[in-house]
Symmetry: C2
Subunit: 169 residues, 2 copies
């Protein structure tokens, strides 16, 4: 799939067939995540891949918008290492770029995915840290539920020229 088409047609997929993605597919997604740019190229991310049904259910129970996670069959939690990038705002930006790469890669290989925000919601951050046994310096930025899509969504045109400004505001 062409990169421009992928960007323009990707949608958040929240219904999944339950067929579990393969290790090879997961690796493709992780490779995409690793290739994101980062401030000073510090690459301060970690990726946690969860397929265990109990853990998926526990994460779903501790996130208001991740009820679909167990059915997706795979969660990828993108975390930032605040020892490596102490400026948390930039850490979050780096991890967000990695997440967007993963979402586009999933779409590009025919999978569906949705980004469920964790940080900076304090409850979600604490619960995901507990569930995944994260060290104190590791911040869970976002959860990606990924699987085989069981819904088709037409592209949504979000172009809005009132949000474009030339030269100055």
């Amino acid at each position: 799939m062409n990169v421009i088409d992928a960007i323009l047609t990707r949608r958040s997929i929240r219904k999944f067939t339950g067929e579990v993605v393969s290790d090879e597919q997961v690796n493709t997604l992780l490779k995409a995540g690793f290739q994101a740019p980062s401030a000073h190229n510090l690459q301060p991310w970690h990726f946690i891949v969860v397929k265990d049904k109990e853990t998926l259910e526990e994460m779903a129970a501790n996130h208001p918008y991740a009820k679909m996670l167990p059915q997706s069959g795979c969660g990828i939690i993108v975390c930032g290492d605040s020892n490596r990038e102490a400026r948390v705002g930039f850490l979050v930006e780096d991890c967000s770029a990695a997440i967007q790469n993963i979402l586009l890669a999933a779409h590009g290989i025919g999978l569906g995915a949705v980004w469920c925000g964790i940080y900076p919601d304090t409850d979600r951050t604490a619960e995901f840290s507990r569930i995944l046994n994260l060290p104190g310096n590791i911040i869970p930025v976002g959860l990606i539920a990924v699987g085989y899509p069981d819904e088709e969504k037409a592209p949504q045109d979000r172009f809005d020229k009132t949000k474009i400004h030339y030269e100055k505001w």
Copy 2:
């Protein structure tokens, strides 16, 4: 260009020929930015497109890593509207996804680009707000310098299996 190839081969480009990108190319980049996912689909971003040489030079003078900006010929500043998304952490994530889309789209159409971080650096945020005349609720998250590349960079393999964890940390 295939989306996976685009993700794997994109590099930050900091040398530019000086040839200015066309309005059509800028529109392709903006369309890509608009298509990013956002928390609750609030789409809280604004895009400021700067080609004016004086403004490019003033921005470059107020950012430690944007000296290449005047030579690139075009800056796109991705901003977040904190009236639309009050949770600034999520606002930054949304804008970061938009920035990553723009970087990949630029690569996909043969342009070069680099993401220069602004927020949460307080000096840069204040200076860019002043230069671009931003209202108080608008946060400049990142600057993208984009133009015709005057350097070729081989893909950098950032895959690091020590940063992958299965099931738990």
